[in-house]
Subunit: 610 residues, 2 copies
């Protein structure tokens, strides 16, 4: 028996007990003839006291950091108590010890505040995983999965495994493919999600399905993406959108309670996609703070339900606003104090290529009721007052205005809003604000190919009121310039995203469950009948044999854990993550393989392509 | 709202309630102007009664099997009660109905006793999954995973995900490989198991890890193997073999209780590998029945602890026995009644190529105390009596004797024992017998390469008492004829298998945790230092920084579920299995991919190789 207790459980209640502990040497301190060692394991730290009698053995087998040690001894009360940790009132008077394994000096210190850089810590991930900060993340991840499983179990969901070796159906992201040896020249693909399988399970009558499952996408990796990632994948039959929303509101509230010991009692507000774009310029708005957009000018087709803002810029010869498709503003609370230098820096910030604006217009609403603005030679005080009023600014605030093409400008003002929120400390990691974004467009326009692509995925159903418009019209876009006037441009989807603190944590939809509508959808995305059959013949076939109405949702598990852990980096919440080139630098993968392996797969390397 | 209740929950307690149900049409029966429909969902069947008033609508939209139907109506007591099902005392007086989706006539009937052949059911797996028999299997599978997760959670295990895109380290089975686009000419491999990662987690201090996880092996598929399969993968630090055995005895008892509602209170016996081979000829013996082997002659080196059987065949000129390496017998209870024809059939059975024996010797122990034998012209009654006695035969039994080379003969007698057990009805699917097999050999001899291979895997530790023998000797086998005399031949491993009804359901070992011993192990398997570094440098590196003693076990989840479900076929317990060629015939995978995909991966097909 290697241990009678862990390093996290002994307290004054155990005084005088003979115990055996095993763990890692965290620190060694010598005071005269006495040696103190902090022994660490997953559960905590316990102080060991090596008295004079052990000095001979300690001289022969000196201890070092990260040595694996087994000690036997008696629990004693400590004179110098540490109230910070549960075991801080006791120590072990060591009677005998065994070095179970030695350790070389680690390449960085195993402490919360480590001296190891990211690269070093990735290479020695097994040592990085020893640090408390990382351990806490993985523990939180396990808590989340446990909480999710318990909730879904109580709601009657069944965990059903779907296959990993499936078929390549390129649409959307790139598949990872797996050559088959038994079927020469053919390939499996790794799933980007179990989408079609979970739909088949609904057709099979399984009703409430879930899985916490790895998915794969061979995409160029942005800082916070991984080629393999984990989804909480759920699907329900005989449901409408409202049923799904309520089910997963329940789930997220349960997770908050179980994992953060925090009730999320607030109503989870719902915004239509149009409303989110209108108020925040973003379909995953961070609503921990206000600073909502003032839409001073915008193209009518973008927000068909919103009345145009009349007359603000009329009769003034300021070309930037007059010629812009969109003019949009935010009010920064207390920003009237900004110096010239600070405003210049903000201007430079919006001109960076990532944001891509030509400039920034500001209006300072000064405490004396006057205005100071970069455009005060064009607009008089009354006009500036109207603009500031639209943005909801009061005395002491700063109004920031961007102008340009709709899409870019809206994206830029959204980024600017987030940046100002951050600078003002309004985006606190310990505050959580959830919302639903609903009624997404079903289609997006792909200008390179002059065709429609699915905004969510090809299995998402249109709103019932829009089905006729879809069925009754040809998807072909005869005039690319006027794609917005095509009847498909305004078809709304039965799709929904759950957003937490400005991040999409989950998304889903009510699915198409009728063969004809699915065929129409595939056709709208440019698939002819042959391609439909090749790629999705099994699904179209299944729709013929009694497919029930169904819908579902998938949470990005890595992201959800990161946000609950107060971080925006998913990598910190994955035991063995890959770097930005998709490499696992610890095991050195991917790597070359034997020629024999390639021969068996009937494959040849074709370097230099494409 | 699609339903107020499921099709499995309404009883007499709900009489007079207005309800809404949704489900599939199982059967339609007409009696005059009344139509009865059984509506099915995941939860059960409910009888619907369509009265005369609905006939016009029924004429316009006639129902068919597997149509998806929504009905509103009132719960009423049934006159013709069905006590077999929970809802059998009520029916729904339908007031209105909607056909949610139609169904074509299914290619086979959705019933327990289906008329669909295996191929058809694989192609239409989504329909096969509707059958009760298959649904029960998947429900059992979910119950097992739930039970396992709960037990391991209570024992302090953490579910930690390990990566799927790892490094190819061919040793043992073939890897599936995944070409990397971002790292041209390089490949990931899909894990055959998370072995090295779970060991790293132990080195990282996670102490008790588990995962229910997909694993992959690109092997030629026997009838009951799948290219992707699921393991319950567990690892513990600071444990000895006894700790692991007790932990997982606890787990399996919990699973029996939760899933079969059956206490497994018996002691789980432990047999050494040698004892299992001696008594049953098999390292995964079915101990639901006796019929243990009588070892009449065997090579001394195979069972070093067993004394030779003296003098049985001495002085008799029966070459078959005298020249055989091994002679081994079993006693078949009540078999003395076997006819000539039956014995001929048994002889033919052992001569089949799968068994490969030259013949079968029998001794009938007749009720009058005399013997009748195929070798009674060589052996007199006294001799026959001694042989029968060794086999434990009594009057009325039949002794069956095989002779030949040790390995083949032992395998054959083991098969014969299982076959006779089956014929005698001694292998009942509803009876469960567990045991541990311990002390496996660390190495197996690979004659083709004249080297040692790992019996379990290269991370399994030798028994502490055998470490010296391993470290102190060169693995090279100078004389292939005498490999059994090599000091490595008798090194025992700290490895263990859990066996249920003649099937290995789990296996594991205490691992090597010292760098030097691991290097010696790799060297013994023929890896030079360069290869060791390339393939396992990260693990050898990790061993330098304080690796704790650790060990673990993995259960074959598919097999475990199948056995608990009373079946030997894992395919019935997998939602979307592949066929014997590794194909998913439903989705038609694997399949060809676009040239563009290959170009992006810098790959070319090289047909006809190897």
């Amino acid at each position: 028996m290697y241990r009678s207790h862990t390093c996290g459980e002994l307290t004054l209640a155990n005084i005088q007990q003979e115990v055996t502990l095993s763990g890692w040497v965290q620190t060694i301190r010598k005071f005269g003839s006495i040696t103190f060692v902090d022994l660490r394991d997953r559960y905590g730290l316990t102080q060991l006291l090596f008295g004079e009698a052990l000095n001979e053995q300690l001289d022969q087998t000196p201890l070092g950091r990260e040595f694996v040690l087994q000690v036997k001894g008696k629990v004693a009360e400590r004179s110098n108590k540490n109230k910070q940790i549960p075991t801080g009132e006791i120590e072990i008077l060591v009677e005998s010890f065994t070095v179970l394994n030695k350790s070389a000096v680690p390449p960085f210190t195993i402490q919360d505040d480590t001296d190891g850089g990211e690269d070093l810590r990735m290479k020695y991930r097994y040592l990085d995983l020893r640090r408390n900060a990382v351990k806490k993340n993985l523990q939180l991840r396990y808590q989340v999965s446990r909480s999710v499983r318990n909730y879904l179990h109580d709601q009657g969901f069944m965990d059903i495994e779907t296959p990993f070796l499936i078929k390549s159906t390129p649409e959307g992201a790139r598949d990872f493919i797996v050559p088959s040896r038994m079927n020469e020249g053919e390939f499996y693909a790794l799933p980007q999600s179990p989408q079609t399988f979970k739909q088949l399970l609904m057709i099979s009558g399984y009703d409430r399905y879930y899985q916490i499952v790895k998915c794969f996408r061979d995409e160029d990796l942005r800082a916070d993406r991984q080629p393999e990632f984990t989804q909480i994948d759920c699907e329900m039959a005989f449901v409408e959108q409202e049923d799904v929303l309520q089910m997963f509101e329940g789930l997220i509230r349960k997770v908050f309670e179980d994992v953060l010991a925090k009730q999320y009692t607030e109503e989870i507000i719902r915004l239509s996609w149009e409303e989110a774009m209108w108020r925040y310029g973003n379909d995953k708005p961070d609503i921990r703070f206000g600073m909502e957009l003032a839409n001073l000018k915008f193209p009518a087709h973008t927000f068909p339900t919103k009345p145009a803002v009349e007359g603000i810029f009329e009769g003034v010869d300021f070309k930037v606003f007059n010629e812009a498709e969109t003019v949009v503003a935010i009010a920064v609370p207390g920003g009237a104090e900004y110096t010239r230098k600070e405003l210049d820096e903000l201007t430079a910030w919006v001109k960076r290529p990532q944001i891509g604006m030509m400039g920034l217009v500001y209006i300072k609403c000064q405490s004396d009721g006057t205005y100071k603005s970069s455009v005060d030679k064009f607009y008089d005080s009354d006009r500036l007052s109207i603009i500031a009023g639209k943005a909801g600014a009061v005395a002491g605030d700063l109004v920031l205005i961007l102008a340009g093409k709709e899409e870019r400008t809206r994206k830029a003002i959204s980024e600017l809003r987030l940046e100002m929120g951050k600078r003002l400390g309004l985006r606190r990691a310990d505050q959580y604000k959830l919302l639903w974004v609903l009624d997404f467009p079903l289609f997006e326009y792909a200008p390179e190919e002059n065709r429609w692509v699915a905004k969510h995925h090809p299995f998402t159903s249109p709103k019932p009121s829009d089905i006729e418009r879809m069925i009754g019209n040809d998807p072909k876009i005869s005039d690319p310039e006027k794609y917005l006037e095509h009847p498909y441009a305004n078809i709304k989807a039965n799709a929904y995203d759950m957003v937490l603190n400005g991040n999409e944590i989950g998304g889903g939809s009510i699915r198409i469950f009728q063969k004809e509508l699915q065929e129409k959808m595939f056709a709208a995305l440019g698939m002819d009948e042959k391609e439909q059959q090749e790629k999705f013949g099994f699904l179209l076939g299944a729709f013929q044999y009694g497919a029930p109405p169904h819908g579902g949702l998938a949470f990005g598990f890595d992201r959800l854990c990161a946000l609950l852990g107060g971080s925006e980096s998913i990598r910190d919440f994955i035991a063995f993550p890959k770097n930005n080139s998709g490499r696992d630098v610890m095991i050195d993968a991917p790597s070359g393989v034997d020629q024999k392996q390639l021969d068996e797969l009937a494959l040849k390397l074709a370097p230099g392509k494409p």
